[in-house]
């Protein structure tokens, strides 16, 4: 197990390096225009002095490897600046992190809880009424577009009936109750798709597992049916769900929450990225891409390690007995 973990972590470092190089190439090297002008933004077009400053700071006259190192330095020492609105990019990102994490972690908790619950119930009552109803719920959840759902929730629950606030974010440390109150609708919006998806996947995994020999053995030992279902069927069926969760959670934090954040005006990192796209403001985009990618890679590594912990057969790199 230890060797596996070390190998995965080292692998992660290699992947992060590769990601950073790709981000660098995508933003600075590949497009065919003057990079300094692009970074200065539309507002500052024609401001020759500014463009010269940027060239100096970013080292566009230097060789590529030096440019790369310079960019990395700018991002990681927090010197990256947005010329559109004169803000420090990294500071802005940090400011948005609590909202994004609150949204994503909360939604993840909800979708895992309901996804697993519905999947489990569907599987053990497969073919019955409960299964059919839950299947419909799942398919609706998967099919509903996020923005449409957000719109409906906003109209009916914040406008027509003022049950929830129409948007905005309240910090957890300020007022926990208000924090949750403002996040309920965004959580639901983000989670609905994944509840549907995860319940279907778990249902399918469980139905497959229920036919396996070891489940028959568990019954033959005289275990209570509930124990057979949880310790043998569910436990084995959850393994692929863990991998999926890692991928999905990483993708959501890394950028998937953009739409939900924007619609509910949560001022998280996703919304910041959305605004940067709207304004074609490069520095924030570079930083957000970088951090998003890093987060996804890191989470994937954690998922791989967790998977090896859950499924002992997978611990590669260990000599055969």
């Amino acid at each position: 197990m230890a060797r596996f973990t070390v190998r995965r972590l080292l692998g992660m470092v290699v992947v992060l390096f590769a990601v950073s190089v790709i981000v660098f190439l995508v933003f600075n090297v590949i497009p065919n225009s003057d990079p300094a002008a692009r970074i200065a933004g539309e507002k500052s077009a024609g401001n020759v002095q500014l463009i010269e400053n940027i060239e100096g700071e970013w080292g566009f006259d230097d060789s590529l490897p030096i440019q790369y190192l310079t960019m990395m330095k700018l991002i990681f020492t927090g010197d990256l600046v947005s010329y559109e609105n004169q803000t420090d990019v990294v500071e802005e990102i940090w400011a948005g992190v609590p909202a994004t994490l609150s949204l994503c972690v909360g939604a993840a908790a909800i979708w895992m809880f309901f996804g697993i619950l519905f999947g489990y119930l569907s599987a053990i009552r497969a073919g019955g009424l409960a299964d059919r109803l839950l299947t419909i719920v799942a398919l609706v959840g998967i099919s509903v577009p996020v923005f449409w759902l957000a719109g409906i929730l906003l109209i009916y629950l914040t406008f027509k009936v003022e049950l929830f606030p129409p948007g905005g974010y309240v910090g957890l440390s300020e007022d926990p109750v208000d924090w949750a109150y403002h996040l309920i609708l965004p959580w639901v919006t983000l989670a609905v798709l994944y509840v549907g998806f995860y319940s279907r996947v778990l249902r399918s995994n469980m139905l497959d597992t229920m036919n396996e020999d070891h489940v028959r053995t568990a019954r033959a030992k005289g275990l209570p049916e509930r124990q057979v279902r949880t310790r043998h069927v569910l436990r084995n069926s959850l393994i692929p769900i863990v991998t999926l969760f890692g991928l999905d959670f990483g993708a959501v934090v890394g950028g998937g929450a953009i739409l939900t954040e924007a619609l509910f005006d949560l001022h998280g990192v996703g919304q910041y990225a959305a605004e940067a796209v709207r304004d074609l403001d490069l520095p924030p985009l570079i930083a957000v891409t970088m951090f998003g990618a890093f987060f996804i890679v890191f989470l994937n590594t954690l998922v791989d390690i967790a998977y090896a912990k859950l499924d002992p057969r997978v611990r590669l790199g260990e000599p055969a007995q």
Partner: protein, 345 residues
Amino acid sequence: MSAAPLLSVRDLSVSFATEGGRLPAVERVSFDLSPGEVLAIVGESGAGKSVTAQTIIGLTRSPNARIEGRVELRGTDLVAAGEGELRTVRGERIGMVFQDPMTSFNPVHRIGSQIVEAIRAHRSIGKQEARGLAVEMLDSVGIAEAARRVDDYPHEFSGGMRQRAMIAMALALEPEVLIADEPTTALDVTVQAQILGLLERLNRERGLATILITHDLGVVAEIADRVLVMYGGRVVEQGTLEQIFYDPQHPYTWGLLGSLTRLDRPRPERLPQIAGAPPSLLALPEGCSFRPRCPHEFAPCTELPPLQARLTGEPGHCDRCWLTPEAKREKRQVAGQIGLEAPSP
């Protein structure tokens, strides 16, 4: 015969509703198991032997299964018993070992934890105590360094060791009956010999009544006391080991015995074979289901022969064949040994 039978199966029938129709997997099977006895149920794929075994402890119950008949374990009818009652029987009074030990253990839990789980489902004892019991059991079935290996995962055991661990788990609560469903089929022959030796020792030392399901007559000859031969879901012959091997009464049994390769005899020119293939249970022939493959078929065979003892003085030796005992003794001799002459083309 002494005491009342431990397990008594009467007219057990199991059928499944399938897309192709009603599948009669087991039809009116009856047998007794006495304490300390080893009963072998022999047959090929589709004969119904596994379904019979699994039905005894209710593993085949499902919405599309129809189970009729009685299975009495010291007075309790298991067919009519509720799930709760069956659960107290499983593991505690009847232990079961399956064919493929790799897939029969849950790959993500340690072996020890799976044995402990079986123990604690029936006894309220602490984890440590149960674990000690598990180590003891693993040791008693011949697993070296049991105290260390109890924490291994199934994939860290070899095939033979896994099967031993399965047996240890099935016997952890000291049941009176062990059902072993093809316990050695997936194992190498040297390992098979060891496992059979283990089963034989357990039977002898603990008086463990065993139902052994197999297709291998060699295995039967080594360890069984009585034999049930199944074909197409029905019992076609039953008797003691001696009776089945030296005085078999059913052509299918002759065919099975004849088609065996024997290391202790010179090689025959051609291996005696049974023509054709086992029947599809969805389309059983009318009357005797062995009819299409039997070279000795004659007029009465269109009517299913009842399972009866047809030899005077041997009430326990029953078969389903209309031929007279004399005709049987004559027809089963092929090239100086018992076998089945293939139907002439």
